[in-house]
């Protein structure tokens, strides 16, 4: 049973190491889908938003983590 728990924990951590980052990425995909379907933006613009949004999310996650660790070290 322990091994199944470990497998499930591993699967969860594969996609949710940083819950805020994962949630932001899912929201980004939702926003791009909504823009494509309801705001009728061009597919190329939607693609650019998806790419730039992903870059911003990963950079924000790395900077936030670094600041958090620096603050914890400083305490």
């Amino acid at each position: 049973m322990k091994i199944i728990q470990d497998v499930l924990a591993e699967l969860f951590s594969m996609f949710m190491t940083d819950a805020r980052m994962s949630l932001s990425a899912l929201i980004l995909v939702g926003v791009v889908a909504a823009l494509l379907n309801y705001a009728a933006i061009t597919p190329v613009l939607a693609g650019a938003i998806l790419l730039l949004g992903s870059l911003v999310i990963v950079v924000e996650a790395a900077v936030r983590d670094a600041r958090k660790r620096a603050a914890a070290k400083g305490k």
Binding site: M21, V44, A46, L50, L51, V58, A61, D65, R69, A70
Partner: protein, 252 residues
């Protein structure tokens, strides 16, 4: 032109599977080595091959199943998972590259794993081989899950499942052979550089397939993947450089 583009995607899929497999097998090998050194090679290999069998079965069963899903739904689903997974690897690789979180130390992990196994087998002397075999099985299974996901994810969208699986299996055999020859943790493998590359490639695949799943026809078709990879790589390197500075200043 289109053939070249497809070749680019196909080789990217194989390279991503190969590099990810190298990273994960190096980590799993450290634990298999600890088991083999402490309890003999029979339980270590039994556990390893049993886990490889389970992982192979997952690819054989799940791969063709995904082939039944409509292509746009599959691309959106797999693209989103790849995006989450790739960005996770990239974030960690940036932090390791900037010196904010420590690099994987295979020698340290080997010592810790050996001490843990010694303590556990001392407590349950009767089932020493079982504990050792189970430790090897668990290590290979857990490290291999990520490789299975990458093989299925990058392989299923373009009918590249078997080449990607072969890329991963090739890396597995190569690392195990080298490991058996040197008989010590493979601590000189540049794990973080490989993780950086895999994170970049998976994030690029993630954006590309999520977009295709949403109905975006990318300009340049598959070739745009290379541009995405270059942009993720550049952003990752610049971020690591930016994060490295305050740490350098603080340690002066």
């Amino acid at each position: 032109m289109m053939d070249m583009a497809h070749l680019g995607v196909e080789s990217s899929a194989i390279v991503a599977a190969f590099l990810a497999s190298v990273v994960e097998v190096v980590e799993a090998f450290t634990i298999v080595l600890a088991v083999g050194t402490l309890s003999g090679w029979r339980p270590a290999w039994l556990g390893t091959f049993a886990a490889l069998g389970v992982l192979g079965l997952l690819v054989i069963v799940l791969g063709p199943l995904l082939g039944q899903v409509p292509i746009h739904d599959l691309q959106l689903f797999v693209g989103m998972l790849l995006l989450l997974f790739g960005m996770g690897w990239l974030r960690k690789a940036i932090l390791r590259s900037a010196g904010i979180i420590p690099l994987h130390d295979e020698d340290l992990i080997f010592s810790q794993e050996t001490a843990e196994l010694e303590a556990e087998t001392r407590a349950k002397q009767a089932s020493k081989n079982w504990i050792a075999g189970l430790a090897a099985f668990k290590a290979v299974l857990l490290e291999g899950l990520e490789v299975v996901f990458i093989v299925i994810a990058v392989g299923s969208g373009h009918g590249m499942l078997w080449p990607a699986a072969l890329g991963a299996a090739g890396a597995c055999v190569a690392v195990l052979l080298i490991g058996m020859m040197v008989r010590k943790p493979l601590s000189t493998v540049p794990e973080n550089t490989l993780k950086f590359c895999v994170g970049v490639m998976l994030s690029a695949f993630g954006v590309y397939w999520t977009g295709e799943g949403l109905g975006i026809a990318w300009p340049g078709a598959d070739l745009i993947l290379l541009l995405f990879a270059a942009i993720f790589l550049g952003t990752g390197l610049v971020t690591a450089q930016f994060l490295r500075k305050p740490v350098t200043l603080a340690t002066r």
